[in-house]
């Protein structure tokens, strides 16, 4: 049986030489993403800003203008409509009701769903949630703490297991991934809710995973080819791990694609974030974190260099070996 090979054997792409371009592109995209977040803002869900969300399912696709006028007529503030999944499902977002009186919020939910089922026979509510400002503040805080801790924890792990340059380059790459994902949310106006925090943490986990594999290969090659130039060594390591990087990304993207297309609308934002995160994470593993190692001045372990020079290291012979493609 002829087996499938997405990446041909023995690729020799000069990723390090491309890094100037890659940094430029990365910087431009990052600025664009930050700009988008700054200008358009993020579409926070009720989890994070408080307020109430009602998802209503209609018998037939309704006219959004009519729904909006029905909702606005209830005197509970301006409703924001968003189509979710198919054309028959709409979510209605309303601002948090004045005061802390829960009765007011309940009344609004009842009024709106009541009015909608009167005006649009056969429509039913699928779900609703209300969150007060106090809880939403806590949720934002916990979400931020979780993301920060994850970045820090994993950065520390990379520093302990590898050199400090690996830690720094990994953290930079992750921040890049997060900025890109945020930019994506600003662009698409997908709702940022509690689930998205989980998506962010998963993206972080995956992205690190990807970088650790390459870092691990760089470390291995640093021991194997002690005299090789660092640019060449990083190129070699990235090329050697390229089939794995691409294979894994493609597999996970296949799984996510199934979830994105078939998993229902509730998870759509979550899966979309994940999908983009995997793509961005793969890009940053190859172009951002590995190339950054050179900029940060990673060098072969000085301790080992000295032993090699003194000729005391039993493995010196291996160090002399020439790389297969060098």
């Amino acid at each position: 049986m002829k087996l499938l090979k997405i990446v041909p054997d023995n690729t020799n792409i000069d990723f390090v030489r491309l890094r100037g371009w890659a940094f430029g592109l990365t910087l431009a995209l990052s600025i664009l993403a930050i700009g988008l977040v700054g200008l358009r803002g993020l579409n926070f869900g009720v989890d994070f800003v408080g307020g109430l969300m009602i998802e209503q399912r209609f018998a037939t696709a309704p006219s959004q203008d009519r729904v909006r006028s029905v909702v606005d007529a209830q005197g509970a503030g301006e409703g924001q409509l968003q189509q979710f999944g198919d054309a028959r499902t709409l979510t209605i977002r309303l601002p948090a009701q004045a005061g802390t009186d829960e009765g007011a919020t309940n009344a609004v939910v009842r009024k709106v769903t009541g009015a909608l089922s009167r005006e649009f026979p056969g429509s039913t509510f699928s779900r609703y949630s209300t969150v007060t400002g106090k809880v939403s503040g806590e949720l934002i805080r916990n979400g931020l703490i979780a993301v920060l801790l994850a970045v820090l924890g994993i950065g520390l792990f990379a520093i302990v297991r590898f050199e400090w340059q690996f830690g720094v380059s990994t953290v930079v790459a992750i921040v890049h991934d997060l900025i890109m994902t945020l930019g994506f949310f600003a662009l698409t106006r997908f709702e940022v809710d509690l689930n998205i925090v989980a998506a962010f943490l998963t993206i972080i986990g995956y992205s690190i995973n990807d970088k650790i594999v390459i870092d691990d290969r760089i470390r291995e090659n640093m021991r194997r080819y002690r005299k090789m130039d660092m640019r060449e060594l990083i190129n070699l390591s990235v090329n050697e791990t390229l089939p794995r990087t691409v294979m894994t990304s493609v597999t996970i993207l296949l799984a996510l694609l199934a979830l994105l297309l078939l998993g229902g609308h509730v998870l759509r934002g979550f899966t979309a974030a994940m999908f983009l995160g995997i793509v961005v994470g793969t890009y940053s593993s190859i172009y951002v974190s590995s190339s950054l190692l050179i900029t940060l001045g990673l060098r072969a372990d000085p301790e080992r260099e000295r032993t090699v020079r003194l000729g005391k290291d039993g493995g010196a012979g291996e160090a002399e070996r020439v790389a297969p493609r060098a």
């Binding site: 087996l3 779900r127 106090k134 689930n195 986990g205 294979m247 894994t248 597999t251 996970i252």
Partner: protein, 533 residues
């Protein structure tokens, strides 16, 4: 590396098959397992999949502190008035979170302090800590300040009661398996699966339990009683714990005293027999009223009624003058404690507010779970096909590992009686993706070693050895983010993290140890000279 003794093979298969079997059994629908001697533990469906309501209630602790101060004021006023000599006080105030009053006769300072100590429980309350600081300023002004420990204790007690009230109320709705847990110091999480009327739920939780004392009508005819008929001026009430066995009792309509005149109720012990009982305290007005009524009705029973259901009907043995009474009647400590809680919760001493709520309709839940299962199945199929096309025999091994891994995760989740949420399904799908990463790493490494000219055995050995280190590191980082989600996350995030963490643990075992065994057995069986990878 490729050496697998028979016991090891048996052990690996044993663990995997056992866990997979747990997973398979937990999916058998309940109607088929009804006759089984042992019910399999199952995975609970989260509210987003089962439909239902989630409420986060927060208690009003400021309100509690204020109410506590008011009660103390009533008690102090009553105590000063009651004893001999009567101690005159005035200018009583509860402003600024403390109780102050002025003594009319400064020479009574010591006597007043003595009486205050009996009201505030002396130096030690239930927790052994002082609950009130008593100071005297300007020789005749008393200041009672609640201590932080005392207030915390009061909040804790009130929250315990409130949780109990909430549970009793939701149980009364007859809903299936509600979850009611305290969260932090002043919150209660309520999850009611499948309940479609959150409004009724909230109405119920917002209501304060009604406690009433009424005299029992002993003239009622038992035959009439059984038919729900009571004499004129009386009513028939359910009495589930009636010692006579009849679950009804007739009581006279007038309310002797109601829950808002009750100050406290706790479990105690009867002095002579040391049998557990329940001690109740009325506030001053209630105490006076109770004294009058009991004086006139010695040797008659009265009914203690919560929400129109009689909890007990003790006999009035003697007039009760001190504003406090004990309810005796063959209690166990638990029974007495439960009644005390019921009495206390009759007066829901802390206001509960809904601060977060979400309700998922049953259609959306069903829709979500169907779509989630379809998506997972398609994801598995896509990944399996892709792996097989890329790695052939080795892909097939990896696929077997992935399928077993899915069954094992289900098994572990069921054994833990875990909850599956929609993000949990996403975690499943993602685990399928990352689980094959280990095999991708191994197989790519084997390919690489083959290209370098190593023999089949060497390449396989090196592939597993070198890749294992990378796999370990990659999974540790993944687990770090999973743990953070588990610890800090709430609701959906936690559900996702649980599946992810289980998946990380099981996938390392299936993807590395299990496939290595399969590869080793293949090599030993066929002694291949080449490998198609």
């Amino acid at each position: 590396m490729l050496d697998f003794p028979r016991w090891k093979v048996a052990w690996i298969w044993g663990v995997l098959l056992l866990l997979s079997a747990l997973g398979a059994v937990s999916l058998v629908p309940e109607r088929y397992t009804a006759g089984w001697p042992v019910q399999p533990s199952r995975i609970n469906l989260g509210l987003d999949l089962a439909g239902g309501s989630y409420l986060l209630l927060e208690a009003d602790t400021d309100g509690l502190a204020a109410a506590r101060l008011e009660t103390m004021r009533d008690q102090v006023a009553a105590e000063m008035r009651r004893g001999t000599p009567r101690i005159g006080i005035g200018d009583i105030s509860t402003r600024g979170g403390q109780l102050t009053f002025l003594l009319r006769d400064p020479s009574q300072v010591d006597a007043a302090r003595e009486r205050l100590l009996t009201v505030t429980g002396g130096g030690a309350g239930m927790s052994g800590q002082r609950e009130w600081d008593i100071t005297v300023v300007d020789t005749s002004r008393f200041v009672l300040k609640p201590t932080a420990a005392g207030l915390a204790q009061a909040v804790d007690t009130a929250m315990g009661d409130a949780t109990e009230v909430v549970r009793r109320r939701i149980d009364a709705l007859g809903t299936r398996e509600p979850t009611i847990v305290r969260q932090g110091t002043n919150r209660i999480v309520v999850q009611v699966p499948g309940f479609q009327n959150p409004q009724a739920l909230k109405d119920l939780l917002g209501k304060t339990a009604r406690l009433e004392f009424k005299l029992v009508d002993e003239t009622a005819n038992p035959a009439d009683l059984a038919q729900g008929r009571a004499p004129v001026g009386s009513q028939v009430l359910p009495y589930p714990g009636n010692p006579s066995g009849v679950p009804f009792i007739a009581v006279k309509r007038p309310v002797i005293i109601s829950g808002d005149q009750l100050a406290d109720a706790r479990q105690g012990y009867e002095q002579q027999t040391n049998a557990p009982n329940v001690v109740i305290n009325f506030n001053s007005a209630g105490g006076q009223r109770f004294a009058r009524v009991t004086q006139a009705n010695v040797n008659k029973p009265f009914a203690i009624i919560v929400d129109n259901s009689v909890i007990s009907a003790p006999n009035i043995n003697e007039p009760i003058l001190g504003g406090s009474a004990s309810i005796n009647g063959g209690f166990t400590v638990e029974g007495a404690n439960q009644l005390a809680i019921a009495l206390r919760s009759g007066k829901l001493s802390i206001d509960l507010k809904v601060i977060e709520e979400s309700t998922v309709g049953p259609d959306l839940g069903r829709d979500s779970i169907n779509k989630g299962i379809t998506a997972s199945a398609v994801a598995v199929l896509l990944v399996v096909a892709f792996m097989f096309l890329t790695y052939g025999r080795f892909g097939a091994y990896a696929n077997l590992a992935v399928v077993i891994n899915v069954a094992v995760i289900v098994g572990v989740l069921a054994a833990m009686k875990g909850t599956l949420t929609l993000p949990g399904i996403a975690g499943f799908v993602l685990t399928i993706g990352t689980a094959v990463d280990a095999n991708v790493l191994i197989n790519e490494r084997i390919r690489e070693e083959r290209r370098r000219g190593r023999s089949v055995v060497q390449a396989a050995e090196l592939g597993y050895k070198e890749a294992s280190r990378t796999i370990f590191e990659a999974n540790v980082t993944h687990a770090i983010s999973g743990l953070i989600m588990f610890v800090l996350g709430s609701g959906p995030v936690k559900g996702f993290a649980v599946v992810l963490l289980i998946g990380i643990a099981t996938s390392v075992f299936t993807a590395v140890t299990f496939t290595r065994m399969l590869v080793a057995q293949w090599i030993r069986r066929t002694k291949p000279k080449t490998m198609n990878i």
